[in-house]
């Protein structure tokens, strides 16, 4: 008959302790994993938000790129080098200024996008004034400038241009890589591929220019066109 006052044996207590600690370890591992995954997801979303913002700004600025600049004393347009990739993480160009200009010297400002690897920040600089994309902490940002030929129509006939030359398009491509906050401080070997968010975007340099994009160009343009 079982003695109701009998306690647990040492073996029973040990087994219970081992089982309890195993359950605790499993719960702890689960919560640690969940916390890591949550941080990763949060950082992924922040990175995506930052990348979208970068894309918005880059598109906005490149639509206003000063591709066609007049030179003082000349009536001919010159097509300047559209963008300058100073380093893989730095892009420089000039865009039309917001201020009105009535002379032949169309006002432009210097624009620069640069990635600072030490802080992960991406900075947009207009006329020397820096603005940081606060939500964006990028491990790597690369800019590429490309020029590509546009294909003629399938019929084989060439496009009807007033000057018969190959049509090319310039564009700027960017590759942006963000790591989750947890993985950012880890050595490369311990990082997992899913900790990384890569986004690729491209912005074409416009073929056309008109009042909608360069509101203050009209006066200067009319004078230039009358001299062409």
């Amino acid at each position: 008959m079982r003695n109701p006052r009998r306690g647990f044996t040492v073996v029973e207590v040990l087994v219970a302790l081992i089982l309890a600690s195993m359950v605790l370890v499993l719960i702890w591992k689960f919560f640690w994993g969940e916390q890591r995954r949550f941080a990763m997801d949060q950082n992924r979303l922040t990175g995506l938000q930052g990348a979208m913002l970068l894309d918005e700004y880059l598109s906005w600025d490149l639509e206003r790129i000063a591709l066609f600049l007049s030179e003082p004393g000349r009536t001919q347009f010159t097509l300047n080098r559209p963008v300058e990739i100073v380093t893989p993480g730095r892009l420089d160009f000039r865009m039309f200024a917001e201020e009105a200009g009535n002379s032949l010297d169309i006002p432009t400002v210097a624009v620069s996008y640069r990635h600072e690897p030490s802080t992960g920040r991406v900075i947009r600089s207009v006329d020397g004034k820096d603005r940081t994309f606060l939500s964006l902490l990028a491990e790597d940002v690369q800019f590429l400038s490309r020029s590509v030929a546009v294909k003629p129509p399938a019929s084989g006939t060439s496009y009807e241009f007033t000057f018969g030359q190959k049509v090319e398009m310039h564009y700027v491509k960017y590759l942006l890589t963000c790591y989750s906050g947890v993985a950012r401080d880890m050595p490369e070997a311990r990082r997992k591929p899913q900790d990384r968010v890569t986004l690729v975007g491209a912005v074409a340099l416009p073929f056309r220019s008109d009042r909608a994009y360069h509101p203050y160009w009209r006066t200067a343009r009319s004078e230039l066109l009358s001299n062409l």
Binding site: V23, I27, F30, E34, R37, F38, D41, Q42, R44, L45, L48, A51, M52, D55, S59, L67, F68, L79, P82, R146, S147, V148, A149, V150, K151, P153, A154, S155, Y159, E160, F161, T162, F163, K166, V167, E168, M169, Y171, K173, L175, T177, P193, Q194, R196, V197, L199, V200, A202, V203, A204, L205, P206, F207, R208, S209, D210, R211, A212, R221, L228
Partner: protein
């Protein structure tokens, strides 16, 4: 009994974590799709208006039907456009496809639309996800091809 209580307490947390994780992936794919759509629309709207107009008009676009705009670059540039060295990213990109549609509206306007489709690996869904983006382009006052005597831009 104790295990049952622990399981019941942990279950909502697991579901919540899984849901957040799934949503973040959905958002990532959605952002990739929207970037692709914006890039393609940006490229077409940045091209010479007459060039796109001629393309659509010659392909029968004047009848009012949408015309599929095929790869408008030489040497498969569109593949390069969305490529990245990361294997992880490349695997994601393989799940995406797009169609670019255009239609002239009279002589001075174009309607361009991008439809991006994608599937998420492991997701049980019959139809792919879809993102549509459309824009109207009006004939600009001034274009590179018709007024400016420039040299090659390369």
């Amino acid at each position: 009994m104790a295990i049952l209580v622990v399981a019941m307490a942990v279950l909502p947390l697991i579901q919540s974590g899984t849901s957040i994780h799934k949503r973040s992936y959905l958002t990532e794919y959605h952002v990739i799709a929207s970037l692709r759509a914006r890039t393609l629309l940006n490229f077409v709207s940045s091209m010479d208006f007459d060039l796109v107009h001629q393309y659509l008009a010659r392909s029968g676009g004047t009848s009012g039907a949408e015309i599929v705009i095929e790869d408008f670059f030489e040497s498969g540039e569109l593949e390069f456009l969305f490529a990245a060295p990361s294997n992880h990213y490349r695997k994601k990109i393989e799940n995406f496809s797009h169609v670019l549609l255009g239609r002239p509206i009279g002589n001075d306007m174009l309607r361009i639309e991008v439809v991006v489709n994608w599937r998420i690996p492991g997701e049980r869904r019959d139809t792919p996800h879809e993102y549509r983006l459309a824009t109207l382009l009006q004939r600009p006052e001034f274009t590179a091809s018709n007024r400016v005597p420039t040299g090659s831009v390369r």
